[in-house]
Symmetry: C2
Subunit: 340 residues, 2 copies
């Protein structure tokens, strides 16, 4: 038995296809008697009818599909959460998420977006895998777009990024709250928004607590495990080492743990550590488990999808284009009061 068509429903209900369409789509401004409406509903139910999305798309020029374009999906475990957040919101609204990754190449990006446009996606989520400022592909000009984990260099596309400043502020606040006054910052040396944002939060937290900022307590290295190791060593070998280190990310914190172990600092007895990212492969697995700030990728993905759907369905919702997503502190066991 092939799937029923709208005409089958119409025939069974004894009406024209127009009326079936009108009833099933709840077209407003068109009246149908309650009795007819019910007959159609019953017929559709009985046949298990639902309209063919392709035929519908051909007519309406809308596909209930959104494109998720990302630069590199691979190397970061974050990607999955962002995609999942977007996908779940889309699915619940009856939209499908089509996934494409471009490898970050500009040329490929343009081509990709054009291809998606040919496929008539209703909107595009343009994601990068860590917080950056980007030039958006020009092909995106003609389609509803929301940027994920990125802010546009020009124009004012809706976008969502993590609130690095606020996250760093609470991280350092946590250390200050535990009694620390000498707090190091092992940061990323690349000039990325996350680094400057977190540095801003760090200095702001110190300032709020009346602690003078000491440039010597900021150690910039590559934002990976060896970088964290080197940064932490530099800080801990200072004549007067910090009693706590705020690390740019969990990987640097992992390196920091090693430096601390080598130099005989026990965590958290001699040294408190806070990370950033809440990588679930690292933060809970370190010993002691790492207190860190979570990067809300799932929430950002969900927020972006919701925003895009609102755009597509012409919800008004006038507000600032950019949204800062709060980064919650995840308390574990790497923070304690300063020694002595």
């Amino acid at each position: 038995m092939p799937r029923p068509r709208i005409k089958d429903v119409a025939a069974l209900a004894g009406v024209g296809t127009t009326t079936v369409s009108v009833v099933l789509n709840n077209v407003d401004g068109v009246r149908v008697t309650a009795e007819t409406r019910q007959r159609i509903l019953d017929a559709a139910q009985e046949l298990g009818y639902s309209s063919d999305p392709i035929a519908r798309s051909l007519r309406t020029r809308r596909t209930r599909t959104i494109g998720f374009v990302s630069d590199v999906i691979a190397t970061t475990p974050f990607a999955g959460r962002m995609i999942q957040g977007a996908q779940e919101v889309a699915w619940r609204a009856g939209y499908l998420l089509v996934l494409v990754n471009t490898g970050g190449d500009r040329e490929v990006q343009e081509k990709t977006v054009r291809e998606l446009l040919k496929r008539q996606v209703d909107g595009v989520l343009f994601a990068v895998m860590y917080h950056q400022e980007i030039e958006v592909p020009s092909a995106l000009a003609t389609v509803k777009t929301v940027l994920l984990d990125a802010r546009p260099t020009d124009g004012a596309l809706p976008h969502v990024v993590p609130d690095e400043h606020e996250g760093a502020l609470t991280a350092v606040g946590e250390l200050i709250g535990a009694g620390h006054r000498r707090i190091g910052f092992a940061t990323e040396s690349l000039p990325v928004p996350a680094a400057s944002g977190r540095l801003g939060g760090y200095t702001r937290a110190l300032e709020a607590a009346g602690i003078p900022f000491e440039p010597g307590l900021v150690a910039a290295e590559h934002g990976d495990t060896p970088g964290g190791y080197r940064a932490a060593r530099r800080l801990l070998e200072l004549p007067e080492p910090p009693t706590a280190i705020f690390c740019y990310n969990d990987r640097m914190a992992m390196g920091c743990y090693r430096a601390a172990a080598e130099l005989g600092f026990a965590i958290p007895a001699d040294l408190s550590v806070v990370g950033y990212d809440d990588q679930d492969l690292i933060a809970p697995a370190l010993f002691p488990a790492l207190t860190t700030v979570a990067l809300p990728h799932y929430e950002m993905g969900a927020w972006a999808a919701r925003r895009l759907l609102d755009l597509i369905e012409d919800e008004p919702r006038e507000e600032a284009p950019g949204h800062l997503m709060p980064c919650p502190l995840i308390r574990r066991d790497s923070v304690g009061p300063p020694p002595r």
Copy 2:
């Protein structure tokens, strides 16, 4: 200027739409003079014409779209690589990948697949996030399907899983090659295919080297960092501890590192360690960097997509439904000769 239609091309070339369609789709069995063909090609080029995928789909009942259904996309960084592999192959063949995740709920899975079928996907990639044996949703019966990282309990659907046995064999072979004779195995206690496969490889490797299997050298715990810690402790506190430990995965290896450090075993001087998975957040970040066996997620995703496309496009390719993907050894710094 709206996008050109096929009739615009036909008009410009001075032919009927039929001929345009025939030429542009390279329909065989239909002859068109070289001159006419060229005129059409030129016209299409000039207008920048490409056919509307939706209208085409309505007619042909094919969408050049494949569904990627997964249980949990979130928690594992593996997911991304598998998806990426599949996506890139699909994209290169002109197919789009639509992503849905079901959270593993059977009910939701069935519904999801039915929804995808309504959307006329040409095929489905059904993926789980770690090697398992699964009962496939019945709705998949009517669509071309390839299983990813899973083997079906019944039926003989095409599927691809990592070659756990072979991977463990080479891992343990590496240790034996370095001179070790007393090799512990810190394994996962859950009865998953990966655990039994890797145990099989472990025993096979010993056997091949003429080393008697000692049940006491196999320590089963949860397959996470604390589990690895406990397993390694048990092994290292044996009256005659092993000189090398093969760990079920990188997380267990991470726990193993801690146990070794606590008990005064230096890696690799006193103890060699090999992991499994090659998680890029862990393996290269440990100190010393972990020698491990890579789980070829990208390759599995790509293989599955390729296989599915062949199925869709009716390539014959008769072969065994299941494919074992080799797991290459990644040499780093955690293996050395046994002490003394």
